[in-house]
């Protein structure tokens, strides 16, 4: 049975329907990616899973239990770590304090081995452990946001566009670490990305979203070879039609 099951979820911002009947599954230990252009509804899917938004229809099951409508702190306590879009580190807490807050739901006094684990993945953070989170660079803040979610020792990690705004080399480094986390920390990952190439390389299964709906799903191997994906998300096929290319570029903008 899947670790996470999202069934026919519809979520609204006031009167605006942002996702229109989305269903997806994440198996234990798997990496699943959701691709889609800006505004497709990817972030809303993650917010619905983690409890920050309640769906008007549909249900979310985690680990065999219905978590629809739970507050996000309860969902986190069940083992869902969330690396939100835009990193959202605590700007006036030090790096180490940020990490310790990440472990808040765990009933333990000493987190030194967890801190060592995070610093092992992100040595850059170890050098800055006494600095406020707000002083870090974008890449370091992304590392901190991932490290903070790791402190929860999650069974499922939600990752919202970790490569957004990062230099390509840094984005690749983060992708490499995400791939390592799955095997080394035995966690499942639900990865939302606009950077389709990176996401397809490290994921097992992928969904493609457009305007609040899932329009395609398959294994990442097959998605990589699908012509639509190559054209619109990987930018591989060069059609001569200018208008068509401009549209494609806009879809993958940012």
């Amino acid at each position: 049975m899947a670790l996470l099951t999202v069934r026919n979820v519809e979520t609204y911002y006031g009167p605006i329907m942002a996702i229109r009947g989305v269903s997806l599954e994440v198996d234990d230990g798997g990496i699943v990616t959701v691709l889609g252009a800006n505004g497709a509804g990817k972030t809303t899917v993650l917010k619905t899973v983690c409890g920050a938004m309640d769906p008007r229809k549909g249900a979310v099951d985690f680990d065999g239990r219905d978590i629809t409508g739970l507050d996000p702190d309860r969902v986190a306590q069940l083992g869902v770590g969330h690396v939100p879009e835009g990193r959202e580190v605590f700007p006036f807490l030090t790096v180490e304090e940020n990490l310790v807050v990440g472990a808040f739901s765990r009933k333990r006094a000493d987190f030194s081995d967890d801190l060592e684990m995070v610093y092992g993945y992100f040595p850059a953070l170890a050098d800055r452990r006494k600095q406020p989170g707000g002083f870090l660079s974008g890449g370091e803040q992304q590392m901190l946001a991932i490290g903070r979610a790791l402190m929860l020792r999650p069974r499922l990690m939600l990752l919202d566009e970790p490569s957004l705004g990062l230099a390509p080399t840094l984005a690749r480094e983060i992708a490499g670490i995400v791939a390592r986390l799955r095997s080394e920390q035995r966690m499942a990952i639900l990865l939302v990305e606009q950077n389709a190439r990176m996401a397809l390389d490290i994921s097992d299964y992928g969904y493609v979203m457009e305007t609040g709906r899932i329009v395609m799903e398959d294994t990442c191997e097959r998605l990589k070879n699908a012509t639509d994906i190559q054209e619109f998300y990987l930018g591989m096929k060069d059609r001569g039609v200018r208008g068509r290319r401009r549209w494609k570029q806009r879809k993958t903008w940012r």
Partner: protein, 289 residues
């Protein structure tokens, strides 16, 4: 040596403003709500202390500690029943609610404890300390010492305790704190509880130098001025702003024409708003929208 005595009584008065301002700023940082009943919480705390110390006859420090515990419970209960349902309402509505709450607290206190002024029985009342010809009232020293201890305790709490750090996290980015598993609603309740207890401590500390009556909470208005002067959203700023207003008020009361002492808090506020609108400690707490 009049200057020293004025300074001392100004500082002790300022401590009281500062403590109320501290409670006010804590709630603002955690919830972006302005609690205009903060001064009335101080009044309530003073009456609760009178109940335990004067009426029940408990030793002063025991009564003080019980008062703090009772007021933590009061603040948390208030948040849970009255404030939490207001989440998402316009700030103006919340403000009106807390103003109304002040009226209710004054009326209830008048009904329970009577409207006449009372004094809290304190062990150190009236005694003085003489240092090199300067006579220092014990009450003033206790206010200053008590405030200092309370500030150190609060600082350590926010800096070193897990729940204190989580409180800071929740005030810096509420949603991210939720994602970390911080029970933000319960933490917010606790902020209200601590804030009420700080105000109550101010009420108990000021009791020896001030008469206690249901209207004493109006001095909270000067505490709000202190919070703004200190740099709204800064905890150290709240204390510094309170001390500044307390001291200036004492000196203005003696050396300037009658009446200016009373308004000096607001003169400082005006001057500050014109000269340095961000306050003494420019608040770094820019909230994410």
């Amino acid at each position: 040596m009049e200057v020293f005595q004025l300074l001392l009584s100004g500082l002790s008065q300022g401590c009281v403003y500062g403590l109320i301002a501290l409670g006010f700023v804590m709630i603002y940082k955690a919830t972006e709500m302005l609690n205009f009943a903060q001064g009335d919480m101080m009044m309530l705390g003073a009456f609760v202390a009178i109940t335990f110390v004067n009426l029940a006859g408990l030793p002063f420090f025991v009564g003080f500690l019980i008062t703090l515990v009772v007021m933590v419970g009061f603040g948390m209960g208030l948040e849970r029943t009255v404030i939490r349902p207001m989440i998402g309402e316009p700030p103006f509505a919340v403000l009106m609610l807390t103003i109304g709450l002040g009226f209710i607290l004054r009326a209830v206190a008048g009904a329970i404890w009577g409207s006449g002024p009372r004094t809290l029985d304190v062990p150190f009342a009236g005694s003085v300390l003489e240092v090199g010809g300067v006579v220092l009232g014990y009450e003033n020293l206790v206010v200053i010492g008590g405030t200092a201890l309370l500030c150190i305790a609060l600082w350590a709490f926010f800096r070193y305790s897990r729940i204190g750090v989580a409180m800071q996290a929740a005030s810096q980015n509420q949603l991210a704190a939720y994602y970390c598993g911080v029970p933000v609603k319960r933490v917010t309740s606790l902020v209200w509880g601590i804030s009420a207890a700080i105000s109550a401590a101010a009420g108990v500390l000021v009791a020896p130098v001030m008469l206690i009556d249901p209207m004493m909470g109006f001095l909270g208005i000067k505490a709000f001025a202190a919070a703004i002067v200190g740099g709204f959203g800064s905890l150290p700023g709240a204390i510094v702003g309170g001390l500044l207003i307390g001291v200036v008020e004492q000196f203005a009361g003696l050396y300037l024409p009658a009446g200016l002492g009373e308004v000096s808090a607001f003169v400082i506020l005006l001057v500050m708003l014109m000269a340095r609108p961000q306050g003494i400690f420019a608040s770094m707490q820019q909230k994410k929208v």
